[in-house]
């Protein structure tokens, strides 16, 4: 039997989920999962290139955080594992898939690729491919909100920024430097650590002298929470409080979501180090299956309704693939476009 860090328990009965919200959460998680499964298929069929990092298993975190904010209005900052964060933030599946195909219709015009998804329109600040480098950028977006409100007198500036990153990043200086600044200036930001236990092949416990990441918040006078990252309602619950704090000007929150990636680090990862027992332990906690059960048990949806959603989402993803395949390549004459802002 493997020794896993105990997951904090959340009383689902306290969740108070409406049918509409429940369906929205379910929809978003299924979109993330279906999209990623399709990515794997496309990668192996040679339609997608480079490094592709899939999010399977972690959907409750993206959905639980972003869908509890105001997608499209609040800011989202991600890593190289960014497809599903972009989808939760509202970037259309067509634009994400086209980007992965390197097409002109992609959200980054085919210039970015899997690890560099951007959409100013959806306030997606980016996929940042190097460890930790998105955290300062997200902190800057949060600073901007405070600046607009306090220095420019814009009372409507109450946006919150969510910065996503992994357990490996929590040992990088930018994490500590930004926690310090965000707490110092009470910035409206939520730092979300998706602790999936593995930084490629480096087990979290082998890299980290004090493995409970949420406890590091205390050093900065900031609230820190650990949450079961396989339970969308648990994530939603802690994020609600973090969003409230941020909008009220009470400052940042650190959330450590304990989660797991069902696939290797990237599609190029042979995934030889993680044990079968460990994988089985976490696969049994599949956040989508768990939330489906919640929905049906609480009479928020029937199995048929959920199956109908699955089917709709499959159609959305199939349409995204077709859109990507049909889209034009970038024009070679535009090779140097976007280096500088147009005058």
């Amino acid at each position: 039997m493997i020794q896993e860090r105990p997951l904090p328990t959340f009383k689902a009965s306290t969740a108070e989920v409406s049918k509409e919200e429940g369906l929205r959460l379910y929809n978003d998680m299924v979109l993330g999962r279906t999209f990623e499964d399709k990515c794997a298929e496309m990668y192996y069929r040679g339609k997608m290139f480079g490094f592709v990092h899939l999010y399977n298993g972690q959907e409750a975190v993206s959905t639980g955080v972003i869908q509890t904010m105001r997608p499209g209005e609040d800011y989202v900052c991600s890593t190289y594992r960014d497809h599903v964060h972009a989808l939760s933030a509202g970037v259309p599946a067509r634009e994400v898939m086209a980007e992965l195909f390197g097409k002109e219709t992609g959200c980054s015009k085919g210039r970015g690729g899997s690890m560099h998804l951007f959409s100013a329109k959806h306030r997606m600040l980016g996929g940042f491919a190097f460890i930790g480098e998105g955290i300062p950028v997200a902190t800057g977006a949060a600073f901007q909100t405070k600046y607009r409100r306090e220095s420019m007198g814009d009372e409507s500036a109450d946006q919150v920024t969510a910065a996503f990153f992994g357990d490996g990043t929590s040992n990088n200086g930018q994490f500590f430097e930004c926690l310090n600044m965000a707490a110092l200036w009470k910035l409206p930001i939520i730092y979300v650590v998706e602790n999936n236990k593995w930084a490629i092949g480096m087990a979290h416990d082998r890299a980290t002298s004090s493995p409970k990441i949420y406890k590091k918040a205390e050093a900065f006078g900031m609230p820190g929470f650990e949450v079961d990252g396989m339970d969308v309602l648990a994530v939603r619950s802690v994020v609600k409080e973090a969003v409230r704090r941020a909008r009220a000007g009470e400052g940042p929150t650190l959330i450590e979501a304990l989660t797991y990636r069902f696939r290797g680090h990237s599609l190029a990862d042979p995934d030889e180090l993680r044990s079968k027992e460990e994988k089985e332990f976490w696969l049994a906690k599949d956040p989508i299956k768990r939330f489906s059960a919640y929905m049906t048990e609480h009479n928020l949806a029937t199995n048929d309704e959920l199956k109908a959603i699955d089917k709709e989402i499959q159609a959305v993803v199939d349409d995204a693939v077709q859109f990507g395949l049909d889209s034009p390549e970038p024009n070679p004459a535009d090779l140097r476009k976007y280096i500088f802002a147009e005058e």
């Binding site: 210039r111 480098e133 600046y147 600044m181 976007y338």
Partner: protein, 327 residues
């Protein structure tokens, strides 16, 4: 028309742009209450408040990234590198995010920010505080690189840099902050992409920038007395180069000497000579020559330090040799 020292000209530029546009802010180490290491932001916090003169913790990579995030979302931050050398610690944010993000985002975001501060070889500051990062950053796509050299162009260029929608690396020189100039009245803005004609001449084109401009003008005074007539051009923009001005001069003199303070290997002149050969090879009557600092960490000892960077007398000799056909 008032006389102003360079540090104050930079302060005036910052003050005027902050008054004109409330999205402009300054962030960095000791830019607020302390007034900046060379007093470029002295007392501005009293006028604009702590949020617009943001004293940051000593965390270069993170506060640079913060400025990038703020710029992506609509502000126009100016970062002061207390010493430009410290920004080696921010190399990742400057290269990956300030430089490349607009491109990788397919034009989703623009990054209007200025990264400015003192660089160059001072007086016995030791190797780490005597760096010329313009050469290190030269290869990064998406950055504009500018070096000011007089109080007047410092002001006009900084105002233009703040108004530019792209990330601008703006190099000042530690030994030039007390240079004096008469300032033009009104809203004086100098284009970032234009080189400055410092001295018109017909014998040879000297291309230079930052403090070496003054070494070149000093050399020119000695050369004039002996009947030599060099043309001196201050590049101002190190990226992109102003080939209109450079090309016109080469077509006139057919000879080029580049005088720079950065190290020779991978220096500004290395790229500039290659670009000149690409464009004007047939115009050249002699091999283009570069005069650069030694490829060594800048030594503390004053005598050794002077041997590390180019001195005016060396420029005199090189010009004579080139004009006299010995090169």
């Amino acid at each position: 028309m008032a006389e102003t020292l360079m540090f104050n000209a930079l302060r005036e530029a910052t003050d005027e742009e902050m008054a004109r546009d409330n999205t402009v802010l300054v962030m960095g180490e000791d830019v607020g209450h302390y007034g900046g290491s060379y007093k470029v932001t002295k007392d501005l916090y009293k006028k604009y408040g702590d949020l617009r003169l943001l004293d940051t913790p000593i965390a270069e990579n993170s506060f640079t990234g913060m400025a990038i995030g703020a710029a992506m979302t609509g502000l126009r931050p100016i970062i002061e590198g207390m010493n430009m050398g410290f920004l080696l610690l921010a190399f990742n944010q400057i290269a990956n995010n300030a430089g490349m993000l607009r491109y990788t985002s397919g034009g989703n975001y623009k990054i209007p920010m200025v990264i400015r501060g003192p660089g160059g070889v001072g007086r016995q500051l030791g190797a780490e505080h005597s760096q010329r990062l313009e050469a290190y950053f030269h290869a990064v796509p998406g950055l504009k690189i500018v070096a000011c050299s007089t109080a007047k162009n410092a002001k006009g260029l900084l105002k233009a840099a703040i108004r530019d929608d792209n990330p601008v690396l703006f190099f000042e020189h530690v030994l030039l902050y007390n240079l004096k100039d008469t300032m033009p009245d009104g809203d004086f803005v100098q284009p970032l992409d234009k080189a400055e004609m410092v001295r018109e001449g017909k014998d040879v084109t000297i291309l230079t920038y930052s403090r070496m401009r003054h070494h070149c003008t000093q050399a020119a005074k000695a050369l004039e007395k002996e009947g030599y007539d060099p043309e001196i051009i201050d590049l101002i923009s190190l990226k992109p180069f102003d080939f209109d001005t450079i090309g016109a001069s080469i077509k006139k003199t057919h000879k080029v000497i580049i005088v720079e303070e950065c190290m020779q290997t991978g220096g500004i002149a290395a790229e500039l000579i290659a670009a000149i050969c690409d464009r004007y090879f047939d115009e050249l009557d002699a091999q283009p020559v570069r005069m650069s600092s030694q490829d060594i960490p800048t030594p503390y000892n004053g005598t050794l330090e002077n041997l590390t960077i180019i001195q005016p007398q060396q420029i005199v000799e090189k010009v004579k040799a080139m004009v006299d056909g010995q090169i």
